[in-house]
Symmetry: C2
Subunit: 331 residues, 2 copies
Amino acid sequence: MDQVAAAAGVSRATVSRVINNAASVAPGIRDAVQRAITQTGYVPNVAARSLVTRRSNSVALVISEPDRPDDHSFLNRIFTDPYFGRVTAGATGALRPHDVHLVVVPTDSADHHQVVRYLRQGHVDGVLLISSSEHDPLPAQVHALGIPAVLSARPSGPLPVSYVDVDQRLGARLAAEHLLTRGCGRLATISGPLDIPAGAERLDGFRAAAGTTVPTEIGDFTRVGGEAAAHRLLDEHPDLDGLFVASDLMAEGALRALQDRGRRVPDDVAVVGFDDSSAALECRPPLTTVRQPVEEMAAEMAQLLIAHIDTPGRSPRSVIFQPTLVRRESA
Amino acid sequence: MDQVAAAAGVSRATVSRVINNAASVAPGIRDAVQRAITQTGYVPNVAARSLVTRRSNSVALVISEPDRPDDHSFLNRIFTDPYFGRVTAGATGALRPHDVHLVVVPTDSADHHQVVRYLRQGHVDGVLLISSSEHDPLPAQVHALGIPAVLSARPSGPLPVSYVDVDQRLGARLAAEHLLTRGCGRLATISGPLDIPAGAERLDGFRAAAGTTVPTEIGDFTRVGGEAAAHRLLDEHPDLDGLFVASDLMAEGALRALQDRGRRVPDDVAVVGFDDSSAALECRPPLTTVRQPVEEMAAEMAQLLIAHIDTPGRSPRSVIFQPTLVRRESA
DNA sequence: TTGTAAGCGTTATCAC
DNA sequence: GTGATAACGCTTACAA
């Protein structure tokens, strides 16, 4: 920086002003400095800068998952899950224009304290927190840290924190109504884990529209979980003709189970998924599903976070997206 | 930090020593400082630290993709591709014990300079560079920067840089031999783009074992691309009975095409994929495929990078993994 | 509009 | 073994 200042014949302060294009710099000087910068190939040192500005220009994407027993491939599951992929894509895209970078921090409860320490150290200016479990203490911990944060769903306790969510119940109702309209008379559903709000709410919404007694099996939001749940459902209720599965991934598994048992979809059993992830298109037949605009939601989270970072006292708010039904061939 | 020093009745220097557990500190003092630290809830400021140590304790995972025309969802494709997911998982896992974090930086050629600027600013200590295209200038640019880097494949030019790769030709040969052994007499293949070394090498290896005249269609490593290529192949060679597809994703598409045309797999046509990604298990029938230990490879990349960061002059080396054939039902 | 100078919170080099 | 003290490279009052 001193080099640049010397080359341009000005002080370091002025160079700094040019770099941060501060209001008052004489056009002539500004050009001279710019030239000097390109000439010397000067690049500001971010550590020095953030030491004084207290900004790192990066945010963390914390993906917090509860420990599930027999889960030896936590990282793998996270990073190959299309849902998280869409979140990452949406957030990255929204952050890029602000020149803010994303640090991806997966965590299970075993190393929550590591994450907290990381955040406290000031590595990042804020947190995008993806937490599904209702009992996850991390949202509260992060909030207690006082670091700007945005959640991917309504916090389970009353936490004054911004969040983005989709109207889960409405989505489930859309699915129920579609199956009903289609003429299905014996509905059933495969839900997500009930300790995950999204799981419970979708089941709730479906039952509100389809009847509180619809046969239900609980899945785990994975493909194989969906397949197993479908088999259990078919064992108990071989005559079902309409199935709502609370995620596309599970629906893909369910489709497999149905096929294995010789049920034609949608002729014998109509199936509706949830998410509209890429999995929905990979299914045979392509899945009718409740679309959740995940990328847009993640982008909104990023926007909110930036806003919170830029204006510290900003009051938290929630943005709820409306799901829509995407009709394809499975129902 | 001054607080801690005061509370422990020592100097800041000693506190620093305790934190970085330097050799010489009297046990008594050390404990006192530790107590003071927990008491005051002190957390070191990373910016200040990296300003002097010139280390950020984070590395970038740069995913460089060539621009493909009509590609409006670059980010989405990247982040939902199971291959990149596995890479991220493997790298994250290997970095974690070193307390090094991962900044994910996707880039197409439009913003290479942004990436270069980012790297020059010293945000990260090193780069894990995933670059598939042969003509990608980024590896050379990164190398010119002098920042530690590890590539995910042999650089196209002679660049003194460490890289990790799988023996692509061997993998393709494994596939060919399996099909041949199985008794297939009319082989064909769907390759990846030939400007991507992995694409060219797999084709090469397959032809070396199966004959240089095997019918070939070029895909683009996507599901739909594989499906289209399979249709073209079947149009031209309706009698083929053995198919090597250069990625599982494309194989999934090919399986679909075969099904649509009433070909049974593996009875009418045996299919072998490449990668052993999660897609291989989602296929119907499950895919026989050439396994690439992507997570391990990514972990190795991370290890190499850490080594290069820790010992600056370290000479570059390459680590080549052996692929293996995973037999499932499609061949 | 520009320059001077005082930090920002660490680590590292010395003496002691 | 421990404590001053000088960097590290930048931003930002405050003065001019």
